[in-house]
């Protein structure tokens, strides 16, 4: 009888909601044995799982996986993972590392330029044939010299800052902790940052502490000419308040890639020319997902060879 070749590939659970698929399945199977059901007998021995998109990892999930030591996330944000519970059980968690940072930073800058210089509104104006009729188009606002406040100076916030400095903006930030390596002025809370900024760019992780971190108080502090750009999570901003401020003209404008109840977007925003909307796609380029695949594979390989993880999640 021929002996079976032993399969030395480590076992990994691909944890996904029915509507989400993991595109890099083919590449993973050269290194790992995969399965995708919590009901499978392998659930009791698996050491690592890949969390596809926003698939929740809850206490219940973890109860099905008594041997689990690693959760590999596939997004920058991990608000769908019970991080407290993972920490309690000694389970390490990794995120997308730098895979997305440049793309999200690019989109944040794109939104800011669009809001200040009215690019989408002007494009609508031209396409509707109004230019020959109406001639004059309203003036925009200069970006150079604007004081930009970055909420969350992580890898995304850092890339945003680097870009905006080249446009002649001054940058300051708020993070959970001051970063000794950052050259920008630090504010211990978002209110003070808002008082001293013309623009706020929200790039931080969504946690219990940062829920609605941009609230009525912060919007008031930012002022009537202020601009908010959100490329983090919808729930970082008190959306009802923001809509009120925008509709009443109490804030200068907003560029929003994320919303509290996606894919639903408050319809009051559709009539406003000082608002630019996008359907949660700041990360969505083929290059991002390729880089993400590299990060996922690298984290898994490191874990199974007892080497340091590439992108362990750290609260900013």
């Amino acid at each position: 009888m021929a002996t079976e070749v032993e399969d030395h590939r480590p076992l990994v659970l691909v944890h996904h909601l029915a509507s989400f698929k993991l595109p890099l399945q083919d590449r993973l199977i050269t290194h790992f044995r995969l399965f995708d059901s919590l009901a499978s007998p392998e659930a009791s021995s698996v050491l690592a799982l890949i969390c596809v998109g926003p698939t929740p990892v809850t206490v219940d999930t973890l109860d099905h996986l008594p041997s689990l030591r690693l959760v590999v996330g596939s997004s920058a944000g991990l608000d769908h993972v019970d991080l407290v519970e993972c920490r309690r059980r000694g389970i390490a968690v990794t995120n997308s590392g730098d895979a997305y940072s440049e793309n999200v930073a690019d989109y944040a800058v794109a939104l800011l330029l669009d809001v200040l210089r009215r690019l989408s509104a002007a494009d609508r104006f031209v396409r509707s044939g109004l230019w020959p009729q109406q001639g004059e188009y309203p003036l925009g606002c200069k970006l150079g010299g604007k004081r930009v406040g970055i909420v969350g100076l992580g890898s995304i916030g850092y890339e945003v800052a680097k870009r905006l400095v080249a446009f002649g903006c001054t940058v300051a930030y708020n993070s959970r902790n001051k970063k000794p390596s950052a050259l920008y002025p630090y504010y211990a809370n978002v209110h003070d940052l808002a008082v001293n900024s013309d623009v706020l760019i929200v790039c931080c992780a969504l946690t219990n502490e940062t829920h609605h971190i941009i609230n009525k108080d912060v919007l008031t502090a930012l002022g009537r000419e202020g601009v908010i750009i959100n490329v983090g999570r919808g729930a970082l901003v008190d959306e009802k308040e923001l809509v009120q401020f925008l509709v009443q003209g109490e804030i200068g404008g907003a560029g929003l890639d994320v919303f509290e109840n996606e894919p639903n977007v408050p319809k009051e925003l559709f009539a406003l020319d000082n608002v630019v909307l996008s359907p949660h796609l700041a990360v969505s380029t083929p290059e991002s997902f390729e880089a993400l695949n590299e990060v996922i594979i690298a984290n898994l390989k490191a874990f199974f060879s007892n080497k340091p993880l590439l992108s362990p999640f750290q609260q900013e």
Partner: protein, 313 residues
């Protein structure tokens, strides 16, 4: 100085108009129903022209104003002014460089990002209520794209500085090489177009640069290439550009200027890979005021026999 008569050629700025009215005897060209009418009343009193990108000072106008001493343009571009005639007649010419450099460079960057990441198209997608039906598709990464600049003057350099912050390798074609920069120089525009992914037109409009972007250049840039124009509409052969876009021979375009403003080729209105602006490169409150102030300062300096601030001729 309200005995000095200044001609404003078009309603370019309320702020500038008021400033001119306060200081000079202001004549507004657009309030006259005919040229004959205008010349009959004013030809011997006008000593200065304030022009812009729409109406400057051509040979006919200059020749019909014997007392003309200075043309102060509310623009940095000089393509609407007959510079040779001004030189011949000893007429001074000033423009508004530097104060608008940042804003125009910002629009160039905004157009690049908007075309590559489909920002305006995504905004339309959301406003049309399409998101609940499914996600928008992927777009290409912007950071790291190769950017080629036609004309590395003030505006071209400002664009290069910004694009560098996105990790974009910079190359350029200019009348002369600029060894003080680290950017890659190409001695002709075809080679530049072949070797970049985004081609930005940032040079002055002259006889030599008219239609500098023609079919050959568009073909060199190719079906993945993107063309950005913040110079003048006539830098690009517009009908060729439109066919290339409609036929998929060019990847995309971000245009702030057109050959026959305010007319824009309607065939572009249905395309998602273009972004169209109504010549707003320098149109911010801050910059338009700064431009107006510079126009006024140049005029005052001239009539007080002091050195001009930003003379061209």
């Amino acid at each position: 100085m309200d005995s000095i008569t200044v001609l404003m050629t078009s309603p370019m700025s309320d702020y500038l108009e008021n400033q001119l009215k306060d200081r000079f005897n202001l004549v507004k060209l657009w309030t006259y129903s005919s040229k004959t009418d205008f010349f009959k009343h004013n030809s011997h009193s006008i000593r200065a022209i304030v022009g812009n990108t729409k109406i400057g000072a051509d040979a006919e106008l200059i020749d019909s104003l014997p007392e003309l001493e200075i043309v102060s343009s509310y623009s940095v571009g000089l393509d609407k002014i007959d510079l040779r005639k001004c030189q011949e007649k000893g007429i001074r010419v000033t423009n508004t460089p530097d104060v608008l450099t940042d804003d125009v460079a910002d629009v160039a960057m905004g157009l690049m990002l908007a075309v590559v990441r489909r920002v305006c198209e995504c905004d339309r997608f959301v406003r049309r209520g399409l998101w609940p039906k499914g996600d928008f598709r992927l777009t290409n990464k912007f950071s790291g794209m190769q950017v080629g600049i036609v004309g590395l003057g003030r505006i071209g350099s400002a664009i290069a500085k910004r694009a560098e912050a996105f990790g974009c390798p910079i190359s350029y074609y200019s009348r002369s090489e600029k060894p003080e920069t680290n950017y890659k120089y190409f001695s002709n525009i075809i080679d530049l177009a072949v070797n970049c992914q985004i081609l930005v037109v940032a040079c002055a409009l002259t006889e030599e640069t008219h239609h500098i972007v023609n079919r050959e250049v568009i073909d060199a840039l190719g079906p993945e290439g993107i063309l950005i124009n913040i110079g003048r509409g006539s830098h690009i052969d517009e009908p060729e550009l439109v066919s290339a876009l409609l036929e998929g021979r060019l990847g995309g375009a971000g245009l702030d200027v057109f050959e026959n403003e305010p007319e824009v080729p309607e065939q572009l209105f249905g395309l998602e890979n273009v972004v169209l602006m109504p010549h707003v490169g320098s149109d911010t409150v801050e910059t338009t005021d700064a431009m107006a102030d510079l126009v006024i300062k140049n005029l005052e300096a001239h009539f007080l026999k002091k050195p001009l601030l930003t003379p061209v001729v």
